[in-house]
């Protein structure tokens, strides 16, 4: 079964095509890497999958269910989770509270207007934070933790929802060598039931994390295949090295 199926997707910003007829299929359980230079349309592609942006044309299916036109929050309830390239957290709240908000998003309790938030949300949040190695920082406000920890919190918030399809938008961006290793290990440990699609613009850092790789350039898929095929393809070299 395909976890994600995109056919002929298009999005233009004021006449400038950002996604220019992309078709793509990711099998359930797959690790897919989408690479491409700056401005290739990678994040726009994610925003179209999540519904943050409406597509101009084309279809998106999540586990064989068409989702174009569906609002973002309903896609989350179908098992879609994402992280952001530009870290999007609640900076004044604690790490625990951030994860609790994530858990609340899929819980029926989110419409409870007069009770209080069950302790179990915080217990579960703490468990998830421990899983990603942030347990000791659970009570800290996000604004007081290091950049690398925030990247990990981004991933923790997505994983807390037990998604079926996880979109990681440059999870290694801006990290030191040690932090990268830790985040890579974290991603490698994601269970196989979760399909992972990951964006990276730096080819070398992420190649070893994917089974199949898609190269995006000016909003179009130019190469797709296994790691070996993509690296060997002259078009990849052209995009990245300019010759």
């Amino acid at each position: 079964m395909a976890a994600l199926q995109i056919t002929n997707l298009r999005k233009a910003f004021g006449g400038l095509p950002a996604i220019n007829g992309v078709s793509l299929e990711v099998a359930a359980g797959e690790r897919r890497l989408i690479i491409g230079p700056n401005g290739a349309g990678k994040t726009t592609l994610f925003n179209l999958i999540t519904g943050d942006l409406p597509a101009d044309a084309g279809t998106v299916s999540l586990f064989e269910k068409q989702i174009q036109g569906m609002p973002t929050h309903r896609r989350a309830h179908l098992g879609l989770a994402r992280t952001y390239q530009i870290i999007t957290l609640f900076p004044k709240d604690t790490l625990e509270h951030n994860v609790a908000l994530s858990l609340l998003g899929l819980s029926g309790a989110r419409w409870n207007a007069f009770g209080s938030l069950n302790r179990s949300f915080y217990e579960e949040a703490e468990r998830v934070l421990q899983l990603v190695g942030l347990g000791h920082l659970a009570q800290r406000p996000v604004a007081q933790v290091a950049y690398g920890d925030r990247r990990r919190l981004e991933i923790a918030m997505a994983l807390a929802q037990k998604p079926r399809l996880l979109l990681l938008d440059e999870p290694l961006a801006g990290l030191s060598r040690e932090e990268r290793a830790a985040v890579k290990q974290l991603i490698a440990g994601i269970p196989r039931e979760v399909t992972v699609v990951m964006i990276e613009h730096d080819m070398d850092t992420a190649l070893d994390m994917a089974e199949r790789i898609t190269v995006l350039h000016y909003g179009s898929v130019i190469v797709e295949g296994t790691r070996g095929e993509v690296v060997a393809d002259p078009k990849t070299r052209e995009v990245y090295l300019g010759h």
Binding site: T50, D52, H73, A81, Y84, A100, L101, L104, G105, A113
Partner: protein, 304 residues
């Protein structure tokens, strides 16, 4: 919690020690505090600046007055009818206003409230226009300041408690999330628009309750209560007291009402003083009086 109980205890004892003028002044502060607290739900917790909240205060007041004057209904029916009517109109207004956020939301709420204000002004056969509606009564015949004070006090404590529960609830927590990171909240599965709409209606409901108290107190209602000026006064009180805090809008309401009713007895141009006070607060405590004083207190304590 201790500070809240002390405040409540103070206001229970207060009317036994004060004269009628001050008892009435306190009643007006309570009424205005319900109004500002309901604005704070939108502005402080939802990040939605409304400049049309007087619509719900005025609407509930007019509906209750008209139900009594035109239909001859008693308060037991007029009051719930006014609140239900106000809440329904708010639900419809919310559909329009929440097509935008930020400045767009501000302009839409203003425009919608201006429609009601214009109607109250021009529909003379119904509202008596600029003369306002007179000859109204209070429920239970509470015509003395003392019993009315306790009536309004109990309603205000209940209203503020209900609003405090709302912002502390899971829905209230999600509401604050939509204020800080709406896109992220949607990606996490929260229906941002619905959260805002529910809050909009809830805030209008309590705005309507303050309107009922308002019309009971004055036994008179005039289109000015639906005006931009009245919405702005409420908004400024919230900002001055500290938006996004529970105590802020209550302190802000007290500041505005004290200046308006007490100082105006001594200074004719009290509006000018109100302006100066707002400028002073914005310059020295831009986050509002309550958070500002808290900050000063913490700094003072850490120094000693």
């Amino acid at each position: 919690m201790k500070a809240w109980l002390l405040t409540i205890a103070f206001f229970v004892v207060f009317p036994f020690t004060a004269g009628e003028f001050y008892i009435n002044l306190a009643s007006q502060i309570f009424i205005f505090a319900i109004f500002t607290a309901s604005i704070n739900l939108l502005l402080g917790y939802g990040g939605l600046p409304t400049l049309g909240h007087s619509a719900y205060l005025g609407l509930a007041a007019y509906l209750s007055a008209l139900a009594g004057l035109k239909l001859g209904l008693g308060h037991a029916i007029a009051a719930p009818a006014a609140i239900v009517g106000t809440t329904l109109i708010a639900a419809a207004f919310g559909l329009v206003a929440l097509r935008a956020t930020g400045l767009g939301f501000l302009m839409l709420t203003l425009a919608l409230s201006q429609v009601l204000w214009g109607t109250a002004y021009r529909w003379v056969s119904m509202t008596d226009g600029d003369n306002g509606l007179r000859g109204l009564s209070r429920p239970f015949g509470m015509d003395d300041a003392f019993s009315f004070y306790f009536f309004v006090f109990i309603v205000a404590v209940f209203a503020i408690w209900m609003m405090a529960r709302y912002v502390a609830s899971p829905l209230g927590i999600a509401l604050r999330g939509t204020r800080d990171q709406p896109r992220r909240m949607a990606a996490l599965g929260h229906d941002v628009w619905m959260i805002r709409w529910v809050t909009f209606i809830y805030a209008a409901f309590w705005g309507g309750v303050s309107g009922l108290m308002f019309v009971y107190y004055h036994k008179y209602i005039h289109p000015v209560s639906l005006s931009l000026a009245y919405s702005a006064e409420g908004l400024l009180a919230v900002i001055a007291g500290g938006s996004g805090t529970l105590a802020g809008p209550l302190v802000g309401a007290a500041i505005v009402m004290l200046l308006k009713n007490y100082v105006s007895a001594y200074i004719e141009r009290w509006n000018m003083l109100l302006g100066f006070v707002f400028v002073f607060i914005v310059v020295f405590m831009p986050e509002g009086v309550v958070p500002g004083l808290k900050r000063l207190w913490l700094r003072f304590r850490s120094r000693t």
